[in-house]
């Protein structure tokens, strides 16, 4: 187990390195720089600024410099919010993003798997078709369309919920962003768990369980759920990534003070260090989530467990 963990963590390093390099050079390839303003700064001042942030060095050297700092856990100072370091900004924004993201994932899992199982039990019935059609719609509507629609309907039209803001994490402020973020995942997970539940329910060991006179509840929960969850669990890694990218948009639309907002403003302002910091942070997060998924997978399916 220890060996497996170590191995998994080690294989994450090259992935991260590629990610960092890709983001770094892409960012630099974009036209403009962090100190471009409508009114040009005097050239001496800009040169001084550039020197202070090592932006005058050759690109490769800058990259190595950045990597060196990264190894010490230093994301560097933000080029835009000059009084804060990138780490401080992430520390401030992450709890908000985590709160919304985790709630969205939880919601997606519960509703998605339940709806998928429900549909699987009524394969090809009207109810099944309705659920699957709804899921297809959920997948095909992008969240930047869904968000304003929900705001218009629920917040502006009906006036039930606030249209934006975090409100210190009050539930009224969370409902819309979490729903928007979760919807495509609910839909995808419903389709996924329906398909895998149908397959599992048709397998010989379910027939054995029925021949043993077990009730439907026992068969579903004790026999079918675990194997049916396997494809669902392996999708959770990509789902985390989808929720994270989704949150970047959602936070902007609902005006939530999460990391996603920093990412967008950072990218627009060519705040190199801030964008890099968010990319690396989320990269590590996604790798960790995928690692967790592998662990859960091993728990669910004893055949993949590593001995010793």
């Amino acid at each position: 187990m220890l060996r497996f963990t170590l191995q998994r963590l080690l294989t994450g390093i090259p992935t991260l390195l590629v990610l960092v390099a890709g983001a770094f050079f892409l960012m630099r390839a974009a036209p403009g720089g962090p100190f471009d303003r409508e009114r040009d700064l005097p050239p001496e001042i800009e040169a001084n600024l550039r020197r202070a942030y090592h932006l005058d060095e050759p690109l490769l050297q800058q990259f190595l410099h950045y990597l060196g700092n990264l190894l010490r856990g230093d994301f560097g100072p933000s080029l835009q919010y000059r009084d804060f370091s990138v780490s401080e900004l992430i520390r401030a924004g992450f709890p908000v993003s985590l709160h919304i993201g985790a709630l969205a994932m939880l919601l997606a899992l519960l509703i998605g798997v339940a709806a998928g199982t429900w549909a699987a039990l009524r394969q090809n019935s009207a109810g099944d078709h309705v659920v699957m059609a709804a899921a297809m719609t959920g997948i095909s509507i992008p969240n930047f369309v869904m968000a304003p629609l929900l705001v218009l309907l629920v917040a502006v039209g009906l006036g039930w919920l606030p249209a934006g803001g975090y409100g210190g994490g009050a539930w009224r402020h969370l409902v819309l962003p979490v729903t928007t973020l979760a919807l495509p995942q609910v839909a995808y997970l419903a389709r996924l768990s329906r398909a895998s539940m149908i397959e599992v329910l048709a397998s010989p060991f379910i027939r054995t369980a029925r021949a043993q006179g077990l009730g439907l509840g026992t068969i579903l929960l004790r026999h079918a759920l675990r194997p049916a969850l396997l494809p669902v669990v392996s999708y959770l890694g990509p789902a985390t990534a989808a929720v994270i990218t989704g949150s970047v948009v959602i936070e902007q639309i609902f005006g939530l003070p999460g990391i996603g907002r920093f990412f967008i403003t950072g990218a627009l302002n060519r705040d190199y260090t801030l964008v890099m910091g968010v990319v690396v942070f989320y990269g590590v997060l996604i790798l960790l989530c995928n690692f967790l998924v592998d662990l859960v997978y091993g728990f669910l399916d004893p055949r993949t467990r590593q001995p010793g």
Binding site: S203, F205, T208, R210, Q212, G213, R226, P227, D301, P302
Partner: protein
């Protein structure tokens, strides 16, 4: 006469499909007394499985059952799900064919057995695991407490079937239904499971319904036998009656089609005198597959074939027999250079094949053909039969042109017993036996010198199998083919082969002329195989003294040192572990055993007494 335990009258099963209703079972009557064993025999499509699934309410969603099935005073077919659940698993237990897929791979053995005990006897965790352990012990599973924590994939096939039987017996059912319980198992393991069922029947007094396609399996176990065909009962009677005085023509045909180990040997066709040595010769042939075992980076080599010498004369049929994992299929593929050979040589008509580059090997392939086990899977579903059979011609005789090829295909199809009119059909439009005929036609169209038949008749029904065997024998004689006939069924091998090679864990145990091998088997493994194979004759089966092999074939990843068979051999002595025994000549046979003479002497003493 007391009321029967189960009385079925007018059972019919219908499936509503897109192409209209399919009647799987039509008006079946049967009755079973408490403690009685009924063998239900039939070929695929006979409705034997659907009939029992209907009794337990386990039909597929589009299936409908009608009729009456009185069991302990209730009509099973009229019960709702809840009432049925009180009978299933409690009063009637069912064991299915494939113990791998019939157990939940994600739950430990203990959990699966515990769920049954909780549902029917309301036992808590601790009491359930005590009961389960006791039952595992009763079905001959050593160290039951540890097994309860294990998962199905950690157990061997035979163990899994024991677990299945144990979980069915937990609630002491009055009736045990076993649907092909030994079909997925090796012959020595099959003998163990059949012995176990006999023993449990004595001990618990359970009535058994044993469903099988294999008449030999029911011969030793069933009191009464029912023969089914196309959803109807063709004949029902005591085992003795059905086997010795069958009234129904279908039963007679079925019995005649079963190859018997104890019947008269088919007259071995004369071997064409060899002109220039053997057709095919292998020396020290080894095939290893690198496998990644659990953990990381530790690559090991699985020695599928570990040093095999072999010779095959022109026109000769060599049977290769052994249990799963013995390397017989790999051997066949290695001889044809279909898998890379790790060491040793293969020569065909004196030409060394193993080091031959691909381009030089290709022209030789027209003389080296193969027929595989699964007829449907080995034919391209998107090609017509004409194109499938003509494909080798397009490779080797392109000059003939399409019209010429079609003519050749028509002749060949006729030869293998298919109507050439159907040559534009696709494989799925044919039955399994017909597909195998197509595969044989494809193999023979280039007039090869050697055909490797890898379990070529194993997937076929008994009567179809007999036809295909007849066809192969006939073609061999007419065309002067050499056959390497690979199989696990001794009785089938015996019908066809002039010489037989017995393999175990990648090594040859014994090679002998067929007559000699079946009359005086010398290697302890050959003897065990022959002893384990059931005979389709109740009188013989019941009179047999059973000395089954213990355990199962060890993992080929870590074969025992020295003689690979010694861990299961009743005659093993410490010296057997010292070295791999070489083949040595005894009479007409070559045997790899250092104890041959001692065993022979022992036997003469025993039979003299």
């Amino acid at each position: 006469m007391s009321t029967p335990l189960l009385e079925v009258t007018g059972l019919a099963v219908r499936f509503d499909t897109r192409d209209g209703p399919v009647h799987a079972v039509r008006g079946l009557d049967l009755s079973l007394a408490a403690g009685e064993t009924l063998g239900v025999v039939g070929e695929s499509g006979s409705g034997k499985s659907q009939a029992v699934l209907a009794l337990l309410g386990l039909l597929a969603a589009n299936g409908r059952a009608s009729g009456r099935a009185l069991f302990e005073g209730q009509d099973l077919l009229a019960l709702d799900e809840a009432a049925l659940n009180r009978v299933r698993g409690s009063r009637i237990g069912m064991v299915f064919q494939d113990p791998m897929t019939s157990l939940n791979p994600c739950l430990s053995i203990g959990t699966q057995m515990g769920l049954v005990l909780a549902a029917h006897r309301g036992l808590g965790r601790r009491a359930a695991s005590r009961e389960a352990a006791a039952m595992l012990d009763a079905v001959g599973i050593p160290d039951p407490a540890r097994r309860l924590r294990q998962y199905p994939h950690e157990l061997s096939g035979g163990m899994r079937q024991r677990v299945m039987i144990a979980s069915v017996l937990l609630c002491r059912p009055a009736l045990l239904i076993a649907d092909e319980p030994t079909t997925a198992l090796d012959v020595t393991v099959q003998a163990q499971i059949l012995a176990l069922m006999r023993e449990l029947r004595e001990r618990f007094g359970t009535a058994i319904m044993l469903i099988t396609h294999d008449l030999s399996v029911v011969a030793g176990l069933a009191d009464r036998i029912m023969v089914m065909r196309r959803g109807e009962c063709r004949e029902q009677g005591s085992a003795g009656e059905v086997f010795h005085a069958p009234r129904d023509p279908y039963t007679r045909a079925l019995l005649a089609a079963v190859p018997r180990l104890d019947g008269p040997l088919p007259v071995p066709p004369a071997v064409v005198p060899s002109q220039a040595g053997p057709l095919l010769r292998a020396r020290g042939l080894q095939v290893g597959f690198p496998v990644r075992t659990a953990g990381f980076g530790r690559r090991r080599v699985l020695g599928a074939v570990a040093g095999v010498d072999l010779e095959l004369g022109p026109g000769e049929v060599l049977g290769v027999v052994g249990e799963s994992g013995c390397g017989k299929s790999t051997l066949g593929r290695a001889l044809l250079q279909l898998v890379p050979v790790s060491a040793g040589t293969v020569s065909f008509l004196g030409r060394e094949l193993t080091r031959l580059p691909r381009a030089r090997l290709a022209p030789l392939r027209r003389d080296l053909q193969v027929v595989f086990q699964d007829p449907l899977a080995s034919l391209d579903p998107r090609m017509t039969v004409r194109d499938i059979v003509a494909e080798p011609l397009e490779t080797f005789e392109p000059a003939q042109g399409a019209a010429g090829h079609t003519r050749r295909v028509a002749v060949m199809l006729e030869r293998v017993g298919l109507d050439p009119v159907h040559m534009n059909r696709y494989p799925h439009q044919f039955s399994g036996g017909q597909c195998q005929r197509v595969a044989i036609a494809r193999a023979l169209i280039t007039r090869p010198k050697l055909v490797v038949c890898d379990e070529a008749v194993s997937a076929l029904d008994v009567s179809v199998r007999a036809q295909i065997l007849g066809l192969l024998l006939d073609l061999r004689q007419k065309l002067g083919l050499s056959l390497l006939f690979i199989g696990h069924d001794l009785a089938v091998i015996r019908q066809l082969s002039q010489r037989v090679m017995v393999m175990y864990l990648g090594r040859v145990m014994e090679v002998a002329p067929a007559v000699e091998l079946f009359t005086t088997p010398r290697h302890p493994y050959t003897r065990a195989l022959l002893a384990a194979a059931p005979v389709p004759d109740p009188a013989v089966e019941r009179g047999r003294v059973r000395t089954g092999l213990p355990g199962e074939v060890p993992s080929p990843l870590s074969p025992p040192a020295g003689c690979v068979f010694r861990t299961r051999c009743p005659h093993a002595i410490p010296a057997c572990a010292a070295a791999v025994p070489a083949l040595s000549r005894h009479g007409g046979a070559e045997v790899a055993c250092i104890r041959v003479d001692a065993i022979q002497a022992e036997n003469t003493v025993n039979s003299a007494n």
